[in-house]
């Protein structure tokens, strides 16, 4: 970037290394909450890499938003503070910082093929503990659950075997041990 002297803005700080963090955000399940959370990201130039939302406590009308974002430690800290400041947000937990969380994602992977590639796809699916949830004489849909990198790896392997389409849920995360959020 140019650093012209003809500006009244301070220069960019020397770069810290960007990190990827998984955040769990407990919010009121009311209209517009998701828009507020996402608007905060787009408005301030933060990235969302994965986003999962669902109501988790029906009676209390609470939803859990799990999102994965990348930024310098300063930016991550700022994101958490900004999220926490939103009125309908109850709690923000940095699962990456806590370091004791389990993360899972579900993907459905559609393969088209015949003969040997079809058999090979089935064999690999078995190795990855993926289940067949739909089958025709020339296609399969696999369901696979696991960490994101495992899913990535599975998709990579399916690519030459006739991969047609992938649908992923995004990450859901929870802390280990007896404590709640």
């Amino acid at each position: 970037m140019n650093a012209p002297t003809t500006t009244h803005y301070p220069a960019a700080p020397t770069a810290q290394k960007p990190e990827t963090h998984t955040l769990s955000v407990l919010v009121d399940n009311e209209p517009g909450v998701l828009a507020r959370v996402i608007g905060l990201f787009s408005g301030r130039g933060y990235n969302i890499e994965s986003l999962t939302v669902s109501e988790t406590e029906h009676r209390a009308h609470l939803s859990l938003i799990t999102l994965v974002t990348t930024g310098t430690p300063m930016v991550i800290e700022q994101i958490k503070n900004q999220l926490d400041r939103l009125v309908p947000v109850h709690h923000v937990a940095d699962m990456t910082l806590a370091g004791n969380s389990i993360e899972r994602e579900l993907a459905m992977v559609k393969i088209k093929g015949k003969g040997e590639t079809r058999v090979e796809a089935l064999r690999l699916a078995d190795a990855f503990r993926a289940r067949v949830i739909d089958a025709t004489t020339e296609s399969f849909v696999f369901e696979i659950t696991g960490k994101s990198d495992k899913i990535e790896q599975f998709i990579e392997l399916m690519l030459p075997l006739g991969l047609i389409e992938v649908a992923r849920t995004g990450i859901a995360a929870i802390a280990r041990g007896p404590e709640g959020m």
């Binding site: 970037m1 140019n2 500006t7 009244h8 803005y9 960019a12 408005g43 301030r44 130039g45 700022q78």
Partner: protein, 586 residues
């Protein structure tokens, strides 16, 4: 042309490539590099406004009177937030605008920097589309796409937010040949089967009616020509919304006048009683429909609109046609001719006889006066004295706007600039500045109210600076007239805060701005004063002192149907005419 340049230079290059001649704007810290680029060239002329809202309204006036895209340049933070009213106005009235906003450098975005605001966040709901350009490589494409999106399909405002470091950065500029958004493909040509169905319905109609809107004007000159041809071919009566005035000549005998809340009796009764309604480029707005469940109960409805989301939004229609008005009208005209269609002569004769009965009620009639200027009379005289000239009319919002729509006979499209959807007081003066910039030799008049015009009065300074001889014709009734009218009808005549207290002396105000001021208080002096206004080669503030108690009739009270209008002389107590639910609807 492909060459290396700064982001700021790309902005000007792209505007010039798009054929932009005028740019309405206001400088500030986050757009200084662009102003530097403006300084170094003479392809695009910058017009310095006095407030960013004025910049957008001026660009709207420019766009509506020329059919081109209007361009705006404002700084970050307050520059962008001040533009929001104008952008929303352009969105509501489907006006093509490209608004370039400066932004703090990319590394400060989200840091609450000086004059920072979340421009794309704030303008998302009030633009057709918006961009935050964070890489210099993306800038040329974003700029050119902005013009494409603003002007195509249903037009609207597009914001391009450019951080200051991107304006300084250098990159390669070229005009992209293709369009990146594959999902954005407005449908221009209407489904021919649907159009055939429509023509079939029209040919068998007993009591048909054309109901047209701003879409016809937006579609371009050809659409108005084709509409005129189709109306003549069929012999059907035609009415239009506020936005569509001028697409069909208001002086023609098939013209019923404007419809809706302050439309004519004949237009609204024809809407209620018709058996085939041909809606072209209008959107069944609540000012038009009145009570939804009593809206034109016996008609088959044909709806031509380029925006699929406008169809079946408020009113269920029988034949929806998604397409551009000019294209669909062309098909309709061709089918009507080639299939040798003709309207049912006998039925049409009876229909026109009925319409003439409604016309005989003279719903726009008002009580004249020799003592005090009636606002309706002022518009009538203004019309008579300017109709043979090359005239453009803008308005503010309120009673004067409705009287202008009722009493000024518009005969051409793109001659009538008014804030219809959003109803923005303060629109007319800056809009007239934009219109005059585009048509320096024409007569440009802002029909104003004394309350509205004070909201953006500062733009008279812009008019003076650029020697734009706009005429601000103020119907001064010393009230926010429409507010007062509603308070009279709905709130027991308790005129809470609607009196224009402590008004300035508009003649002296004009002089203070180095403009020309005229005051007229007697009906007998009006013609002479209007002639003076026209002849002065300067911006004019015309203080036309009118009857402060005059109300705008006819009127469909809220919550009522088209056949439940109140007429000015009908003697109906207006309180009786409005139901409790109606009061809530406003």
């Amino acid at each position: 042309m492909t060459r290396e340049m700064t982001g700021a230079e790309m902005v000007i290059e792209a505007l010039a490539d798009q054929g932009v001649k005028h740019l309405f704007g206001y400088p500030g810290g986050a757009v200084l590099p662009i102003y530097d680029a403006i300084f170094a060239q003479d392809k695009v002329r910058h017009v310095l406004v006095r407030h960013e809202q004025g910049a957008v309204h001026a660009a709207e006036g420019y766009a509506r009177s020329t059919g081109k895209v209007g361009c705006v340049l404002v700084t970050s933070g307050p520059g962008a937030t001040n533009a929001v009213t104008g952008l929303t106005d352009a969105l509501c009235d489907s006006i093509p605008i490209v608004c370039i906003t400066g932004q703090v450098p990319t590394h400060l975005i989200g840091n609450d920097a000086f004059q920072e605001c979340d421009t794309v966040g704030i303008t998302r709901p009030c633009t057709k589309y918006n961009y935050l350009v964070k890489r210099i490589e993306d800038l040329p494409r974003a700029l050119h796409e902005a013009f494409h999106i603003a002007a195509s399909g249903r037009p609207g405002p597009v914001v391009v937010d450019i951080p200051k470091d991107i304006q300084f950065a250098t990159g390669v500029y070229s005009k992209p040949k293709d369009f990146a958004h594959t999902g954005y493909k407005p449908k221009v040509k209407g489904d021919i089967e649907k159009i055939k169905q429509a023509v079939e319905l029209m040919a068998h109609a007993k009591r048909p009616l054309f109901y047209t809107g701003g879409g016809v004007v937006n579609s371009g000159r050809a659409a108005s020509e084709l509409l005129r041809e189709l109306v003549k071919l069929t012999g059907f009566p035609i009415t239009s919304t506020l936005m569509g005035l001028g697409a069909y000549p208001g002086t023609d005998k098939q013209w019923l006048g404007m419809l809706g809340m302050h439309g004519t009796l004949e237009a609204n009764m024809a809407m209620h009683d018709c058996d085939v309604m041909v809606c072209i480029g209008a959107r069944f707005d609540d000012r038009i429909t009145g009570r939804i469940d009593a809206f034109s109960p016996g008609s088959k409805k044909i709806h031509v609109d380029i925006d699929p989301s406008s169809i079946n939004k408020n009113i269920h229609v029988d034949v929806p046609i998604v397409g551009d008005c000019a294209h669909v009208l062309e098909d309709m005209v061709r089918l009507w001719r080639t299939e040798a269609r003709h309207a049912d002569k006998k039925a049409m004769g009876e229909w026109w006889k009925q319409i003439d009965k409604w016309r005989a009620r003279k719903s726009l009639a008002y009580r004249g006066s020799n003592e005090v200027i009636k606002p309706q009379y002022a518009i009538q005289r203004l019309y008579e004295l300017t109709k043979d000239r090359d005239t453009y009319i803008t308005t503010e919002v309120g009673q004067h706007q409705m009287w202008a729509a009722q009493f000024y006979g518009f005969t051409e499209p793109n001659r009538w600039m008014t804030s219809g959807g959003l109803g923005t007081m303060g629109y007319g003066l800056p809009a007239s500045v934009g219109v005059q910039m585009a048509h320096p030799k024409s007569l440009v008049i802002d029909i104003a109210g004394e309350a509205s015009v004070l909201m953006t009065m500062q733009e008279i300074s812009t008019a003076v600076q650029y020697r734009l001889p706009v005429k601000i014709f103020i119907l001064n009734n010393q009230y926010m007239g429409m507010v007062r009218q509603w308070q009279e009808l709905l709130h027991g005549g308790r005129y809470s805060e609607s009196y224009s207290e402590a008004l300035p002396d508009f003649v002296k105000l004009a002089e203070a701005y180095h403009a020309h001021g005229i005051r007229c208080q007697k009906p007998g002096d009006l013609d002479h004063a209007i002639k003076e206004m026209i002849d002065v080669d300067k911006p004019v503030l015309f203080d036309c002192v009118v009857d402060p108690k005059e109300n705008c009739f006819p009127m469909i009270p809220s919550g009522r149907a088209h056949n439940e209008m109140i007429l000015g002389d009908a003697g109906v107590s207006v309180e009786e005419a409005i139901t409790e639910e109606g009061k809530v609807m406003v």
